[in-house]
C-alpha cells in the first residue's frame, strides 16, 4: 500500500508555517538525528507563561514537516499549560488523519515542544533563583 497523505497534510508540507531560527529564544530543543531519519529543532518565546512565538526547522519526511508545522500553528498563542495538553491524535485529526506509520511524526513534534518548554522552565527557574 502506498502512503496516503490527505490534502491538508500535503498543503501543510508544501507551505509550512513558522519555519526558521530565532534570536535569543526563551526555550530551545533539538530532537532526533539524521541517522534515525528525522531531526527537528524548536525555538520558543514565552511571555507571561504564553507561547508568543515558535519556530522550527526539519530534516524529515513530508509528514514530519506537515505535522510539525501544524503543531506550531496550534500552540502559538496558547499558555504553556494548555500547549502541553495537545495530543498526537488531535494533531493528526487536524490534518485530516495521518498514515499509521507516520503517527510517530506527531509524537515527535510534541516531544520536541515539551523539551523546548522544559528548557524554558529550567532557564526561567535559574533566573528567579
Amino acid at each position: 500500500m502506498p502512503l496516503k497523505y490527505t490534502k491538508t497534510v500535503m498543503k501543510s508540507f508544501l507551505n509550512p508555517k513558522n519555519v526558521g531560527e530565532m534570536k535569543n529564544p526563551d526555550g530551545f530543543a533539538e530532537i532526533g538525528n539524521p541517522i534515525c531519519g528525522d531531526m527537528l529543532t524548536f525555538a520558543i518565546k514565552v511571555d507571561n507563561e504564553k507561547i508568543t512565538d515558535i519556530k522550527f526547522l526539519s530534516f524529515g519526511c513530508a509528514a514530519n514537516i506537515a505535522t510539525t508545522s501544524k503543531m506550531t500553528e496550534v500552540v502559538k498563542g496558547m499558555t504553556i499549560e494548555k500547549a502541553k495538553k495537545v495530543t498526537m491524535h488531535q494533531l493528526a485529526d487536524s490534518l485530516g488523519g495521518l498514515p499509521k506509520v507516520k503517527l510517530h511524526c506527531a509524537a515527535m513534534a510534541l516531544k520536541g515542544l515539551h523539551m523546548a518548554i522544559d528548557d524554558y522552565n529550567q532557564k526561567s527557574n535559574g533566573k528567579t533563583n
Binding site: M1, L3, F13, E30, N33, P34, S58, F59, A62, N64
Partner: protein, 384 residues
C-alpha cells in the same frame, strides 16, 4: 506533463505486446493442458513462447519455466534447490544487496538448518571477489548474486562469479530482473544454473516471471498441483501473459542498440545538469559499470521521502530506498552495504529512465528538483 522516472519499479506495457496478447484473452482461450484441438493450439503457442525466450537467453528450451512473478522464481530457486540438495551441504551464499525475494526465503531456510552467509560488496557497488572466494566452502550448495543491482544499477561479472562458484562445487543463481536489455544474459556461455527475469520490467505484462532452471539438478517445487511446467511449477498456463513476455523480450533485444544509446545520452544529460545546478549531490555507486538508465543520488541535508513527495505533486515519479515498497520505511540495505555514512542514509533518490523517457521530461524534472531541494534545504536544521 507526467514524468515517470521509476522504470526499475515497473515499465509501461508496449502496445505491440498488448496486440499480440489480445487474441489469447478472447477467442484463443484454450487450456494448454487440454488434449483437444484448442488445448493443442494453446500448447503450440506456449512452446513457441518458450522457444523465443530460450533463443534469446541461449538456453535449452526445457530449462525455461514460466512463473507468476520474479519473486516466485526467486523463492522457487532458493528454497527449491536448497531443500532438494540438502544431502550435498547446508551452506548458502547470497550477496549483501539481493532483492528481498531472495533474502527472505534464505532467512526461512535458516529454520531448516541451513546456514546463510552474505557476500560483501565494495563501496563502488561490486562483489568483493576476494571476500567471496574466502566464504566458499565444501558444504556450499548454492550462490545467488544479482546481475544488476536494483537500486544502484551496478553490473556484476556474472560469468566470472559463476565460474568461481562452480570451481568450488556449488550451483549458481543470478537474479537478472534489472539486466534486460542492458546485458545479454547468455546462460550457456555464462554457464549459469539458475536465472530470474520479470516480464513487466521490460515493457511486458505484469504477472509473468521467467526462471531458467538447470534440470540436471534436483529442485523441489513450491507450487504443486496439475504438473505444469515439467512438474516444477503447477497452475494453469497464463497464455496471454506468457505470449506477452516472449514478445516483450524479443522486441526489447531487437531494439536494444538504439534504446541503450538513447537512454545513456538522456541519463548523462540528467546527471550533468544535477551536478552543475544542485550543490552537494553524490552518486551512490560507481557511474562506470552501471546500467545506462540508472542514477541513485544523495541530496545532502534533505530527506529523500520529502523530495519524492514534492516531486510527486508535479507529477514526477521517482523512488527512495528500496524499490516499490512505500510501506517499508527502513533505510536501504543496499545503500548501507556500500558503506555510506549513516547520516546520509535517508537522503537518497533513485531515478530510473526507460523507453518512453524524453529530454523534455528530464529537463522538467531538473527544474522541479532544483526548486524542491532548495526549499527543503531552507527548512533543514542541518547546515553545510
Amino acid at each position: 506533463m507526467k514524468v515517470y522516472l521509476d522504470n526499475s519499479a515497473t515499465t509501461a506495457l508496449d502496445k505491440r505486446v498488448l496486440d499480440k496478447m489480445k487474441p489469447f484473452m478472447t477467442n484463443e482461450y484454450g487450456n494448454a493442458s487440454s488434449i483437444h484441438c484448442m488445448g493443442q493450439e494453446a500448447a503450440a503457442t506456449l512452446d513457441n513462447a518458450r522457444k523465443t525466450v530460450a533463443e534469446i537467453l541461449n538456453a535449452d528450451t526445457e530449462n525455461i519455466i514460466f512463473t507468476g512473478s520474479a519473486t516466485e522464481s526467486n523463492n522457487l530457486i532458493i528454497t527449491g534447490v536448497a531443500r532438494a540438495n540438502k544431502e550435498k551441504g547446508n551452506h548458502i551464499l547470497i550477496s549483501q544487496f539481493e532483492h528481498p525475494s531472495v533474502i527472505e526465503p534464505a532467512e526461512q531456510l535458516k529454520k531448516e538448518d541451513f546456514e546463510i552467509e552474505f557476500i560483501p560488496i565494495t563501496p563502488e557497488g561490486f562483489i568483493d571477489i576476494g571476500k567471496f572466494k574466502a566464504l566458499l566452502r565444501p558444504e556450499t550448495i548454492l550462490v545467488s548474486i544479482m546481475t544488476v543491482n536494483s537500486e544502484i544499477g551496478t553490473i556484476q561479472d556474472i560469468k566470472e562469479l559463476s565460474k568461481i562458484t562452480h570451481d568450488a562445487g556449488a550451483l549458481f543463481h543470478t537474479d537478472a530482473v534489472q539486466a534486460v536489455p542492458y546485458c545479454i544474459p547468455n546462460v550457456n556461455d555464462w554457464n549459469i544454473d539458475y536465472l530470474t527475469l520479470s516480464s513487466h520490467k521490460f515493457n511486458g505484462p505484469k504477472g509473468v516471471g521467467i526462471a531458467h532452471i538447470n534440470r540436471k539438478h534436483k529442485i523441489q517445487p513450491i507450487i504443486m498441483g496439475g504438473g505444469q511446467e515439467f512438474g516444477i511449477r503447477a497452475g494453469t498456463y497464463n497464455i496471454p501473459g506468457i505470449v506477452g513476455a516472449a514478445e516483450a523480450i524479443r522486441l526489447t533485444y531487437k531494439e536494444r542498440k538504439e534504446y541503450i544509446a538513447q537512454v545513456r545520452t538522456l541519463r548523462d544529460h540528467m546527471w550533468k545538469r544535477m551536478q552543475e545546478e544542485i550543490e552537494d549531490v553524490v552518486l551512490n555507486g560507481a557511474l562506470e559499470g552501471r546500467t545506462p538508465n540508472n542514477l541513485n543520488v544523495r541530496f545532502e541535508r534533505v530527506e529523500g521521502e520529502a523530495i519524492l513527495m514534492e516531486l510527486s505533486t508535479h507529477d514526477i515519479c521517482v523512488s527512495t530506498g528500496s524499490a516499490c515498497s512505500a510501506e517499508n520505511l527502513k533505510t536501504s540495505h543496499v545503500i548501507t552495504a556500500l558503506g555510506t555514512p549513516e547520516k546520509y542514509m535517508n537522503s537518497n533518490i533513485r531515478f530510473t529512465l526507460g523507453r518512453t523517457t524524453t529530454k523534455e521530461e528530464i529537463d522538467y524534472c531538473i527544474l522541479h528538483l532544483k526548486e524542491t531541494v532548495r526549499r527543503l534545504r531552507e527548512l533543514s536544521p542541518l547546515k553545510k
